[in-house]
């Protein structure tokens, strides 16, 4: 069906199609319309899920963990402060190998109180063992949420997946959306370690120094295996529904001398900047990173690279810039832009590319020494 929808609505539509058994959510700000829309589906009987309105995000994730441990498909959505409040439980979900799917609307963290777009919330969950994917359009948020269930629940993965969409710029922006009848695209979940009352087992018991590292290694092993699963799932999605996705979304990169790398909606804004630069004869391209975990191999050899970070690690630098530097053994021009919803236009991005100084970091809007 073709409609015009917000990113929130798109995620809710995808969840309706994926039919989780249990959805748990806490509804206060900075929560979004995703869980409101799903609550409406459940109350109107168009989605036969058990909806648990819990008392906090910590409890929302705990409820998903409990439900998922029985082998049930689970979903929740959150944003910024709410995601951070889940932090203890997000670690537990990954360590317990539970394929929870969560949408996170990327918003800045307080103080000052700010509910606009920023990626630092999800970046602070980077090392929990969750797969993380960042979307750039309403359609992509829908498609990626559907794929997230396939990937999380795949026997080679069995790790939770976080689908990220930029606060307001995607969550509340209306764009065309084509929904699909997903049929058997998402196979039934068979959790090999599901709770079985006939065979009582203690989950997550005391694990000594002689054992603990083995389970950590198994998370990493599954992260590495997830690369193939993501590739297969994206290929199968394209085969069935005609829309192609990769680990990155590359725009006019093939012959580019300079490539701008970013996450989320900044990457779509960058495409407009690329067209403008190309019309001036500047060979530039945009590479929008979709999957931050597992981190993809990026084809950046021989290009000058500008990385825009809508996040920051204080005392260190832009997180995406440094991950690219470390993984690709290259130096980059690091631009910190868009924090707390700071407006970044395609003209601004074109300026970042034109004025790039490899090896340096600059903060958009900040004059050094002033």
């Amino acid at each position: 069906m073709l409609m015009v929808a917000t990113g929130n609505r798109a995620v809710a539509e995808a969840v309706r199609e994926a039919k989780p058994v249990v959805i748990a959510a806490y509804p206060i700000t900075p929560q979004t319309g995703i869980v409101e829309q799903i609550a409406e589906y459940v109350s109107h009987g168009v989605l036969l899920s058990r909806y648990i309105p819990v008392e906090s995000e910590h409890s929302a994730m705990a409820a998903c963990i409990g439900a998922s441990a029985t082998g049930a498909r689970t979903f929740t959505a959150t944003s910024s402060q709410g995601l951070l409040y889940m932090h203890e439980m997000t670690n537990w979900a990954a360590g317990a190998r539970l394929p929870v799917v969560m949408a996170n609307v990327n918003r800045a963290l307080g103080p000052g109180w700010n509910i606009w777009a920023e990626h630092t919330d999800a970046i602070q969950e980077r090392d929990t063992g969750w797969l993380q994917v960042y979307t750039g359009t309403v359609q992509e948020a829908y498609d990626t949420t559907l794929m997230a269930f396939c990937i999380a629940e795949h026997n080679d993965v069995l790790l939770p997946v976080m689908v990220n969409l930029d606060g307001f710029l995607l969550s509340h922006d209306m764009q065309p959306l084509e929904t699909v009848d997903c049929g058997d695209f998402i196979p039934p979940l068979h959790l090999p370690h599901a709770i079985d009352p006939q065979n009582p087992i203690a989950y997550g018991p005391l694990t000594g120094p002689d054992q603990y590292y083995k389970f950590r290694w198994d998370i990493e092993r599954s992260m590495r295996d997830s690369v193939n699963v993501i590739g297969q799932t994206q290929a199968e999605f394209a085969r069935r529904f005609g829309r192609k996705y990769g680990f990155t979304d590359d725009y006019r990169c093939d012959d580019a001398d300079a490539v701008v790398v970013s996450l989320g909606t900044l990457g779509k804004e960058a495409e407009v900047a690329i067209d403008a630069l190309r019309s001036e004869g500047i060979k530039a391209g945009s590479m929008r990173v979709r999957w931050l975990r597992p981190f993809p191999k990026l084809d950046l050899a021989g290009r000058e690279v500008v990385v825009i970070d809508r996040d920051y690690s204080f005392g260190f630098g832009g997180v995406l810039a440094h991950e690219i530097k470390a993984k690709n053994h290259i130096d980059v021009c690091s631009v910190i832009a868009g924090l707390g919803g700071q407006e970044v236009t395609y003209d601004d991005i074109a300026g970042f590319i034109k004025n790039r100084r490899i090896g340096e970091e600059s903060w958009f809007g900040v004059t050094p020494g002033v």
Partner: protein
């Protein structure tokens, strides 16, 4: 689970933490005249130390008194252990 150990799991075994009954200060004593065998004490016992016939396993009963608190007939008295 077959082959690969993805997460820490353990099979519950009797007395894995030792004979916790030795911690007990108060012992539950059931008055069978008052008891209507509703089974709430068994359900609430955090140590599964009460069986379906409502016998208390004093090897593992820590004497927490939850059974006595939950008993709707006040049929369980917590009696101080002799030292």
């Amino acid at each position: 689970m077959s082959g690969r150990a993805r997460l820490a799991l353990s099979k519950p075994t009797t007395g894995a933490a030792g004979r916790t009954g030795s911690w007990r200060v108060f012992r539950p004593v059931i008055d069978t005249e008052k008891c209507n065998q509703c089974g709430l004490c068994q359900m609430y016992c955090p140590d599964a130390a009460i069986d379906e016939e409502l016998n208390v396993d004093l090897n593992f009963c820590k004497g927490c008194g939850i059974c006595a608190n939950e008993c709707p007939k006040k049929a369980i008295e917590m009696v101080r252990e002799e030292t």
